[in-house]
Point group: C2
Chain length 84, copies 2
């Protein structure tokens, strides 16, 4: 398992928190099929940028969840280490 941040450049444009929560809930509903655990997300409705933090076995698994749940792929995805 590794930590991933996937980035959507414009997918969140003009979306409100409620709509984002609904979109995200569809990811969460099927994440177990792919061994993915979405941890948190952040979005900017002005630019449409969205960042999803997840634990997953692979980039492909993260994208499979997004594709199957919402029909969209991330524009970029990174294996990341966390610090605080």
């Amino acid at each position: 398992m590794a930590l991933f941040i996937d980035v959507h450049h414009t997918a969140a444009k003009d979306l409100d928190a409620q709509t984002m929560a609904e979109v995200h809930s569809r990811d969460v509903a099927i994440q177990d099929r792919y061994g993915v655990r979405f941890l948190r997300y952040w979005f900017d409705p002005v630019t449409g940028k969205a960042f999803c933090l997840s634990e997953a076995p692979s980039m492909e698994a993260v994208n499979a969840v997004h594709q199957q749940a919402n029909g969209i792929m991330a524009d970029e995805i990174f294996v990341v280490y966390e610090g605080q």
Copy 2:
């Protein structure tokens, strides 16, 4: 106060966790001057991508901390809402 994610496209390239922690600690050391609170960060040493999550009064304040602490500005910065 708002929540921000600032993005550095290549600044973390080939950096290890220890070096990133040192870089970040210089931000934290001066963040109070600008009313900024860095919450967490993620980085990918392969691509060099780094994401910093902060609470701050403005984008300018976030960038002022980065500039003064480490001499680098974010490549992009977004006002974000968080969900989980």
